[in-house]
């Protein structure tokens, strides 16, 4: 018996020893520890891809049409991004939707940029040359600028984060919008100085110096109007010069619709920057959202905004056909809006499964070859962020404000309209008349590209425009405080008093 006990005790003891404590040291099998990554250039390429991919969020890419749901252009029957709440004026720090999505996703991308820059800074490997290092930095700073512009244009004052944060310094106060603008222009200037001078469409999908110039023009054009709607001439001059530069380098796409369709986006001479997708594993629901769900429906006033082919407004023009609204209209109407069903001709017709609350849907971003549209449609259209069409409009706008409707303004507008066979403007416009035409042209040319919202804000006409919208679907109501959105309440709460809410929403 005694022996048995002894043997047993030995057995037990050996069990204890046998299971050594290393059993508790486990590592993941599908993730990499930060400490062991960033050892070669390839690691930085992988990290760079993730920085670009941060732009694939809905509100920065394929949700661009939804942004027009915050304006007089579209009606969002699903309230995507809380667009309905916004236009109805029921917009407050807890509304969420794009109010939190833009805020959160901007900082998510900014964090990737900051981490990238930090790791690049401490990387000593010789496989990254100095010039390559500058290109990396220029690219990610271009993206950071894009993201900060989202924050700057909507919220104004926001926290300015240019270093990775952790639990100890996570509560950041906001800084004045001007300081954010300084950072944006500094980032873009770095990009302009260091990025490739190739056009974007020959630069392998990486941001080029011209991409940074175009974005800078957009940023400065927005900033120029300040909070009054009256532009600052110095800034406009910069905008004009940047645009001029770009207009020399890029050419308009022959066909308007080619800019937005998958096959013709590649090497398209108009595109200055896009957020790319690639089926089957990296897709965006363009066709399902716009072609099947009708997630953003053009409103009647938007449809009415398209001129007749003679350049006269619909209704005034003798070509007006009330029986068939789409007849004799600016060709961009058919290339932007569909009624009833998506129709690209025989065999290319899709009946949306959702109701069309306004009677219309957006055809602009749809790819005929992806039919039928639904859950299983794998759309890979790129989201075109910057293009020559917008640059020409910016040029015309800036030059008109600086120098009035001179020949270059007329030419820029004529060139843009000529692509869709629309007549040039009659001579003799006053500056004000030209301003109205340019603003109108922007609305039509850039419809549902998410820019109308910025335009209404910078021109400071959101109040008059939106409050004038008559819709049976929704009661528009805009207050001046909506020129700046509230910071998400959750952020105010989490900061423990460090982040202060925009004064209008306290």
């Amino acid at each position: 018996m005694k022996n048995r006990i002894i043997i047993t005790i030995i057995l037990i003891t050996s069990l204890f020893l046998g299971a050594c404590k290393k059993a508790l040291d486990l590592n993941p099998n599908d993730q990499i520890a930060t400490s062991t990554f960033y050892k070669t250039k390839a690691d930085f390429d992988a990290a760079l891809a993730a920085v670009y991919a941060s732009l694939q969020s809905e509100e920065f890419s394929y949700g661009m049409g939804f942004r027009d749901g915050f304006t007089d252009n579209g009606y969002n029957q699903f309230n995507s991004g809380a667009a309905k709440d916004f236009v109805q004026g029921n917009f407050n720090p807890t509304t969420q939707g794009y109010e939190t999505a833009i805020y959160n996703d901007s900082y998510t991308g900014i964090a990737r940029v900051n981490l990238f820059l930090q790791n690049l800074g401490s990387y000593k490997g010789a496989d990254i040359s100095d010039s390559q290092r500058k290109v990396y930095e220029g690219e990610v700073r271009f993206i950071r600028a894009f993201l900060y512009f989202q924050l700057y244009s909507i919220y104004g004052d926001v926290p300015l984060v240019v270093q990775p944060l952790d639990l100890s310094n996570q509560k950041q106060p906001k800084v004045p919008a001007a300081q954010v603008l300084t950072q944006i222009t500094a980032d873009l200037d770095y990009g302009i100085a260091n990025l490739s001078t190739n056009t974007y469409y020959t630069n392998g999908g990486h941001a080029a110096a011209s991409s940074a110039k175009a974005l800078k023009a957009r940023v400065l054009l927005f900033a120029a109007y300040g909070s009054t709607g009256t532009p600052d001439a110095t800034m406009l001059t910069q905008v004009r010069d940047l645009c001029l530069d770009l207009m020399g380098q890029y050419k308009l796409s022959t066909n308007f619709e080619d800019i937005f369709r998958d096959a013709t986006q590649k090497n398209n001479t108009e595109i200055m920057f896009s957020v790319n997708f690639l089926a089957p594993n990296n897709t965006a629901p363009w066709d399902m959202y716009y072609g099947d769900w009708d997630a953003c429906a053009p409103m009647q006033n938007m449809v009415d905004a398209y001129e007749c082919t003679d350049g006269q407004p619909y209704g005034t023009s003798p070509l007006t056909d009330t029986k068939n609204q789409f007849n004799n209209r600016d060709p961009r109407l058919r290339k932007t809006v569909y009624a009833d069903s998506v129709d690209f001709g025989p065999g290319k017709v899709h009946h949306p499964s959702n109701l069309r609350p306004t009677g219309y849907g957006i055809i602009k971003f749809l790819e005929p070859n992806n039919m039928p549209y639904g859950f299983s449609t794998l759309s890979q259209q790129d989201a075109v962020i910057l293009r020559l069409g917008e640059v020409m409009l910016m040029y015309a706008e800036a030059q008109n404000e600086i120098a009035g409707p001179d020949a270059t303004v007329y030419k820029a507008m004529a060139d843009l309209r000529a692509r869709v066979n629309m007549p040039a403007y009659p001579a003799g416009y006053t500056k004000d008349q030209m301003r109205q035409r340019i603003r109108h042209e922007r609305r039509v040319e850039l419809a549902f590209e998410g820019l109308r919202h910025y335009d209404l804000l910078r021109w400071h006409i959101a109040g008059p425009v939106l409050n004038a919208v008559v819709s049976s679907l929704i009661n528009y109501h805009f207050e001046d405080k909506f020129y700046h959105w509230p910071l998400p309440q959750t952020e105010i709460d989490k900061s423990g008093g460090i982040l202060i809410q925009n004064p209008d929403y306290k």
Partner: protein, 1140 residues
């Protein structure tokens, strides 16, 4: 026997008297022996004459020797006890002479040839008498008791009753005493006397004090428990004709709140909460469930295999499970075999389920069309093309062709009465050395919602074997194969039930009655609306017909082997090794399908639920080895028990997924049959390990003062450095007042037991969940493969980014609990158990409240605390009527009630959710929303009330309360509304049996709880859904209603109706007849004739009756959220128990 005796001289010992001669042999050789030696050849006359008076026996024998010539052999020491002899014989025979001499002597004699041997008294020489006794042992209700042990007192002889309670035992003596014993019954002793048939009625142990309760790593007598443990027998559990054993616990133990979220077969979303939600971390408040001592899945166990369930509620009981015991521990023990003849039991039932409640929708097309128009107009639609023309309405109203102009009740097309069958076969038996319990189970449950069903096969083999008196070993093996059929769909979130049952349900809601599922032309083509302006969701019948299915197979193999060594009376050693292998695989197939307009038969749209075949295999292999030493020693009233053990656990999870999109032939649903043009694959694995030391010390003095201490030291792979190991101690004490001599002296016959208990301890929770997934490496800064991007639109570059902040300092969540309890038994049959507890969880593993500016997901940190306190009360009374007309009526009544208060003690910054708020001092996820105070009845009332948002408020609209009194209604008027947790959980149970009939009923209820419900079934015309018939009373100027507002149209309704408000907050309190069983056991005499020992037939009903104010579907639901959820089942079932 005498005749058979042979000469001692030859050294042969007759077997029958061997014992006697054995003694004699010793006497011969070891003791002093006297032999009166004579020559054997001498012959003497055999007539003896003696005349003695008070002579010594030796003297007398010498005379006989002399006269007869026979030698006399005796043990002189023995003969010292001889009595004086007085005889007077003349010419008597030898026999007679000897008889006379030995008459009163304490000796006897044997004659062997010519030797007279003096032997001890022949009492022991007498031939063993054999008396065979038969009989039946029954309980007081008259039911035969199998397995009762019958022992002959003072011997080791014993038998057991068979399945009919019959026994046969042999005794040697009329004075033998038989002892009948059986666990749970009072021992009974009977002296045999002249009886040969002894029928016994055993009385049930009126006091449960001797009950043995399973506790962590062992058992304990209930009387000696110092912690709060509820135990439920398998028999009680199995009364319900349902499939999920976790659901069966509902209402059976105070402080244990079980909620069956859904009636979906195999996907019931059962939540078990022991003493409230103890944490707000994503770690959750699910208890640790152990099957025969090893963590496992409750739903893998066949309910009929369960012997008992113990629920360890307080820290003292649970802390031996340390880092995973914070939410309590549920110990499931399966049945072991019993020695005896093999018994075969069949238990089966056949049931019919129907929804406990279903929406009453407007299914009359004309009525629907009118309400539709009204709702559209109220919502601002003026376009006549979006409204039903009056002539069309009239067509439907007056139509006789109901194929062309139907009034389709879509819900009736997907809901049905569905059968469930359940069969179990158990073989149990064994020898003294080896026992077995082998069972086979099969269930097949069709869902009340079409397209959902569950099938399960179970097998269990439990073996126990004694190698010798010291060593026992055994195995418990469970095999399970389940198949769950569902409509193809995407699970809405990993923490919720598969969204597809809800999706199909709401699709059926979202149809107008103006069309049926198929075109009226009889082509069988599927419909999509009758009018273009109608709103709808996918045609549910098309989905069902086309078998767009997700089939989930879950396999489990749980194998355990154990051995136990009893070294000495005091020391034993127990070791168990276990492997749990779980495999889940699913296959999800969808195709696209054309749908046509009901009126025009034109192609309307192509139904696309996301095409293709997805297959996924998931595996978890979990191993556990634990070993412990037990020591127990009793001396002079001091009872000491000690335990020390060690455990190591490892778990590895992996999954593999594949997808192909395009399938040329829809019948070939295998990946290889799909086109390889669009396909992808994914998979990963992860693991965790836990190493632990644990110990327990029990001490009691005469069962009067009870003390217990537990400790567990857990080391986890989920933490780093000094936080890897965590220690969880607990202490408890009990005082059995009724064991005190001074109380005994008072002789309070009515007071049987009075015990006070108290405990304190700490428990841990190590479940870390990040973004909905269990995180095994939270302390490491990790990069994810995320953010793939294509720069050139032809190749996809793999992206890598850090997404989460890490927290190297992460450690356990700690729950500290104090419990004070009372156990009282009075008048033998009345029991009461009451507990008060105070439980605080601190260092909660929560996502840090990280600002978005950081740009990374929040790490899990240890912060915040939650308090739960409450009281629990369980009372029961049982009795058996032993005389009068109702003799044999046995009954038991009981009630459980508990109350829990949940409070966030330290939450951090207040967080406001959609309609909830988390704020210090409030229960977790308290309701927070606008308060509706009524419905505006007039324009004047609107004008005189605070302006509501930017609404154009009209009479008939909801009237919100101006909570902050600032004269306007906005988001700042949201307010806290109570009712997120029930004030009371309660249940009543009753069981009775009489003359073969048995009846049991259980009612269960919750009181003071609300549920926020919205969407389909609440708001009219969501995706075109028919309104419920309540909306026939919607407010109109002609018929102003104070309960139903104006009718608006689903999603395009103005915000003024859809805001998060108390209008959608409903009282979800209910009391329901959870279970009713009525059975009859056919008298054994009858069934015996066909070879059946026991035959019981029964009816069992589930959820038969519900009392509630809740509108819509069942109040027992998954929680707040969409009103549409897979409904609860009302089950009528008929069953059979047969034993062979």
């Amino acid at each position: 026997m005498y005749k058979n005796s042979t000469a001692l001289k030859r050294g042969q010992i007759p077997r029958a008297v061997s014992k006697i001669f054995l003694i004699m042999k010793l006497s011969f050789f070891l003791c002093l022996v006297s032999i009166l030696q004579v020559s054997a050849s001498t012959t003497f006359a055999q007539r003896i004459s003696l005349s003695k008076s008070n002579a010594s026996l030796v003297e007398t024998l010498k005379d006989i020797h002399r006269q007869s010539g026979y030698s006399v052999l005796y043990n002189s020491k023995m003969l010292k006890r001889a009595l004086p002899v007085s005889v007077d014989l003349k010419d008597a025979g030898l026999d007679e002479a000897l008889r006379e001499c030995f008459r009163d002597q304490p000796f006897s004699y044997v004659i062997n040839n010519t030797t007279i041997v003096v032997t001890p008294k022949p009492v022991e020489r007498k031939p063993a008498q054999v008396i065979t006794i038969t009989g039946t042992v029954k309980d007081q209700k008259g039911a035969p008791l199998p397995g009762v042990t019958i022992k002959v007192k003072g011997t080791n002889t014993g038998v057991q009753t068979n399945i009919d309670g019959n026994y046969t035992v042999t005794v040697n003596d009329n004075n033998a005493v038989l002892v009948y014993s059986f666990i749970g019954f009072v021992n009974q002793e009977v002296t045999v006397g002249n009886q040969t048939k002894i029928d016994i009625v055993l009385k049930e142990q009126t006091s449960a004090l001797n009950e043995i309760v399973v506790v962590g790593y062992g058992t304990q007598k209930k009387a000696k428990l110092t912690g709060a443990v509820s135990s439920v027998s398998g028999e009680t559990l199995n009364k319900r004709p349902i499939v999920n054993p976790a659901s069966m616990l509902e209402g059976l133990a105070p402080g244990v709140q079980v909620n069956t979220g859904s009636g979906e077969p195999g996907n019931e979303a059962v939540s078990i909460r022991i003493r409230g939600n103890s944490t707000f971390s994503d770690a959750g408040s699910d208890p640790l469930v152990l099957i025969d001592g090893v963590p496992g899945s409750f739903s893998d166990v066949n309910p009929t295999d369960i012997d008992n369930i113990s629920i360890l509620k307080d820290a003292a009981s649970a802390s031996i499970y340390g880092s995973r015991a914070a939410n309590g521990v549920v110990l499931v023990t399966t049945k072991q075999g019993k020695a005896g003849q093999m018994s075969v039991t069949y238990d089966g039932n056949l049931g019919y389920s129907s929804p406990t409640k279903m929406f009453k929708l407007v299914t009359n097309s004309a009525q629907y069309m009118e309400m539709f128009n009204q709702a559209r107009i109220n919502s601002g639609t003026t376009d006549a093309n979006s409204l039903y023309p009056q002539d069309q309405i009239e067509l439907y109203r007056n139509a006789t062709d109901r194929v062309r102009y139907p009034n389709t009740d879509w819900l009736s097309l997907i809901f049905r009465t569905a059968p469930t069958q359940n069969h179990n076969l158990t073989f149990t038996g064994g020898s003294e050395k080896t026992t077995y319990n082998v069972s086979l189970g099969y269930i097949n449950q069709d869902g009340i919602e079409r397209g959902f069903d569950y099938k399960r096969y179970n097998a269990r083999i439990n073996l126990t074997s004694k190698i010798n008196d010291h060593i026992k070993f055994g195995t418990n093996v469970l095999l399970k194969s389940g198949t769950r059929g569902a409509v193809a769909g995407n699970p809405s979130s990993p923490t919720q039930w598969d969204g597809s049952s809800m999706d199909l349900f709401l699709s059926a809601m979202s149809q107008a009655p103006t069309y049926g599922p198929y075109l009226a032309d009889g082509s069988g083509r599927y419909t999509f609306k009758a009018y273009d302006f109608e709103y709808n969701n996918k045609n549910p019948i098309a989905v069902l017909d086309q078998n767009f299915r997700r089939i989930t197979n879950d396999y489990a193999v749980n194998a355990q082997g154990w051995f136990e060594v009893q070294f000495t009376k005091d020391i034993s050693w127990y070791t168990k090794g276990a492997v749990n292998f779980n495999m889940d695989k699913y296959k999800d197939f969808k195709a696209t399908l054309d749908e046509y307009n009901f009126q025009t038969n034109q192609l309307a749209t192509s139904l696309d639920l996301g095409k293709g075949l997805t297959e996924q295999d998931e595996q978890t292999v979990y191993t556990n080895l634990f070993s412990y030493l037990n020591y127990a020693h009793n001396f002079q009233g001091h009872n000491i028990k000690a335990q020390f053990g060690y455990s190591i656990e490892q778990s590895k999870y992996q999954y593999l997924q594949g997808y192909r999109k395009n399938f040329p032939d829809l019948d070939l649903q295998e990946l290889n049959a799909g086109g390889s043009d669009i396909q992808n694959a994914g998979g990963t694995s992860n693991q965790w390990a836990l190493m632990s030391y644990f110990g327990r010390l029990n001490y009691d003095y005469k069962g009067r003062y009870l003390l217990e201490g537990n400790i567990r030291d857990d080391g986890s792979s989920k933490f780093a450095g000094k936080n890897k190991w965590g220690v969880f101690p607990s202490f408890s004490a009990g005082w059995r007042v009724t064991e005190e001599p001074f109380i005994k002296a008072m002789n309070l016959t009515w007071l049987d037991n009075f015990k006070l208990r108290g405990s304190w301890g700490q428990l841990g929770n190590q479940n870390i969940v990040i973004n909905g997934y269990g995180a095994n490496y939270p302390y490491q800064a990790l990069l994810n493969f995320t953010g793939n991007y294509s720069f050139d639109n032809s190749t996809l570059v793999t992206g890598v980014a850090q997404q989460n902040l890490n927290n190297p300092a992460i450690k356990w969540e700690t729950t500290t609990m104090t419990d004070i309890g009372l156990d009282v038994t009075v008048f033998k049959n009345f029991n009461l158990t009451a507990d008060w507890y105070n439980k605080t969880t601190s260092d909660i593993l929560r996502q840090a409240q990280v600002t978005a500016a950081v740009g990374l997901s929040a790490p899990t940190i240890n912060d915040g605390s939650v308090n739960n306190r409450g009281i629990e009360l369980g009372i029961s009374y049982n009795n058996v009527i032993t005389d009068g007309a109702l003799r044999g009526l046995a009954f038991n009544v009981g009630a459980n009630v508990d109350h829990n208060t949940n409070k966030l003690v330290k939450f951090g910054q207040t967080e406001i959710g959609d309609y909830t708020i988390n704020q210090n001092g409030l229960p977790w996820k308290s309701f927070y929303m606008l308060q509706v105070v009524g419905i505006f009845q007039s324009a004047a009332e609107v004008a005189n009330s605070p302006k509501q948002f930017s609404d154009s408020t009209l009479p008939g609209d909801l009237k919100y309360k101006d909570v902050n009194g600032d004269g306007k209604i906005d988001q700042n008027d949201r307010t806290i509304i109570g009712g997120v947790y029930p004030k009371l959980n309660y249940s009543f149970n009753l069981s009775a049996s009489f003359k073969g009939f048995d009846l049991s009923a259980m009612m269960q209820g919750v009181y003071g709880v609300k549920s926020y419900v919205s969407g389909w079934g609440t708001i009219p015309f969501v995706q075109g859904a028919s309104p419920t018939t309540d909306w026939l009373n919607a407010w109109t100027p002609e018929h102003p209603s104070t309960t139903m507002p104006r009718l608006y149209f689903g999603q395009s309704a103005p915000d003024k109706i859809g805001r998060r408000s108390s209008y959608f907050l409903q009282d979800a309190s209910y009391l329901r007849l959870k279970n009713l069983v009525f059975g009859y056991t056919i008298p054994a005499q009858l069934t015996k004739k066909i070879g059946i020992n026991r035959l019981r037939v029964y009816f069992a009903g589930d959820n038969l009756l519900t009392i509630t104010k809740f509108k819509g579907l069942d109040p027992e639901r998954y929680g707040s959220g969409d009103q549409v959820q897979y409904p609860q089942n009302k089950i009528y079932s008929f069953g059979l128990n047969v034993s062979f």
